[in-house]
Symmetry: C2
Subunit: 283 residues, 2 copies
């Protein structure tokens, strides 16, 4: 099942992706839907039912960030072995974690504007959306609590990220992490069996990894995080990026004003973001 | 003016601290009060008015975390010169920032329970609470947007903090950062003129710093953060800890089960937290 948050006629709604369009669901977005205790029953009902005249035609809607209001956005760095090696590090015993905010997220086709940074870099990622409350969860419990998967690009302000030992400030610029375009429910997709994660810059492929090579699987990450903090429906966990980021290149390569960044996980969908850097443009 | 969030008769309320007790304010806590556009007018009205029979006697209330639901809790590390030197680092050009969650916070007298960590350490801090929305703010604008100040202890799980390069996982255990006991409004307190920040362990003073030695003042921090992410009323910024933390001692010293940790900023108040470590207790 594919779910989305869409704008139609000036309003937003959670929706089920159906033939030809989007079947509205009883919530303004997927964050609100997942907060309903009965969200699974609502989906079952919607997916088994009619697709009547209330289906919104695909041509009339705009796809938005599916989960706009997570209380927690937690990201894993250094989780693909080849990316770890390109960054000059050893394989980790523990996941490297940092936080973003709901404000950091943006829509799947939104422009990325970061006037105060000149070293923007790409990080294509699989994102996991939590479907039920998790605390001190085993991997099996964590796997069962995954609502679904979506695509993210953890666009990073490397100049700010390197200012101090802590990456956070280079990872938390407002509206710089596109998410979407849909949420694929966990029963329909198995990252451990292998999903390609692809990043293309102005038509040139710069990243291609496979989630079966993740050091820490989605379920492992959720289980680990739940040891120290509770995860709730709608929370988002980014699973890390494969090799091929700009700062790993010789010489390093960063995003330029006007660049077209495309992030794709076949089976989920594609993010397409134009980079807008007023500082870079004037250099 | 001193403000608090108190529990009385099974309900919570925001309150103004008055002679003999707490004058209820029209919100369930200070997070909700600060989210009201007219919170300053409400305070003015309450402070100029009568203190009638609806004042809650101090003996009947429990002081809670004053701001229980910030969307953002951002912390500065390495901000007192003597603490920076004891950690073996150089004075910074930029603030080192990391994030916590609302879930990380707890009440001023709550026990601190962290079963999964064995290296708990103390970090007494001045906390700043935001009173109006800030984006790309100058230092003057940031100073004017401070609602007030409170006391925090950024209790840190050093074993988890050191597992990876990123401190976050050792800083975000649920209910390990006590906050309170009151919020002192910005007009009544000037950290740049100097506030003592004191931490006492089982009656022994382990930390004493002064906020006039902060490398980055409260207003500087808010201005800097607002360059990359918007700050809103009720958001919390922790300003860093002075010298004297346990991991800086030779040999390092960590909290033990049953320890009594007292954190004080004269002019604001005192946090008093008992440490409960089931893992340590069984060693």
């Amino acid at each position: 099942m594919k779910l989305a948050t869409v704008r139609h006629g000036g309003r937003t709604t959670a929706a089920l992706v159906v033939a030809g369009g989007y079947q509205p669901l009883p919530a303004r977005n997927l964050s609100e839907l997942l907060a309903l205790p009965g969200w699974k029953a609502i989906l079952k009902e919607a997916s088994s039912g009619h697709c009547g005249p209330d289906v919104l035609p695909a041509s009339e809607v705009e796809l938005l960030n599916p989960v706009p209001s997570p209380a927690k956005v937690i990201c894993c760095g250094l989780n693909y072995s080849e990316h770890i090696l390109e960054m000059g590090r050893e394989l980790p015993s523990f996941p490297t974690l940092f936080a973003k905010f709901a404000d950091t997220l943006t829509d799947p086709d939104a422009p990325i504007v970061a006037d105060e940074s000149v070293d923007l870099d790409w990080e294509a990622e699989l994102a996991v959306v939590v479907g039920s409350t998790l605390k001190d969860a085993s991997e099996d419990e964590a796997a069962a609590a995954i609502a679904g998967y979506t695509v993210a690009n953890d666009i990073s302000m490397r100049d700010w990220q390197r200012r101090t030992l802590q990456w956070f400030q280079g990872k938390a610029f407002d509206r710089t992490t596109p998410l979407g375009p849909v949420l694929v429910t966990a029963d329909a997709l198995d990252p451990e069996a292998g999903l390609e994660v692809i990043c293309t810059l102005n038509g040139e492929e710069v990243q291609r990894g496979n989630t079966k090579t993740l050091v820490f699987s989605a379920a492992k990450l959720l289980s680990y995080i739940s040891t120290f903090t509770v995860l709730r429906p709608g929370d988002v966990v980014l699973t890390g990026t494969p090799g091929g980021v700009g700062m790993g290149m010789v010489p390093p390569r960063f995003l330029k004003d006007g660049d077209e960044l495309v992030t794709e996980i076949p089976g989920i969908g594609t993010l397409s973001n134009r980079i807008s850097l007023r500082i870079n443009a004037s250099l």
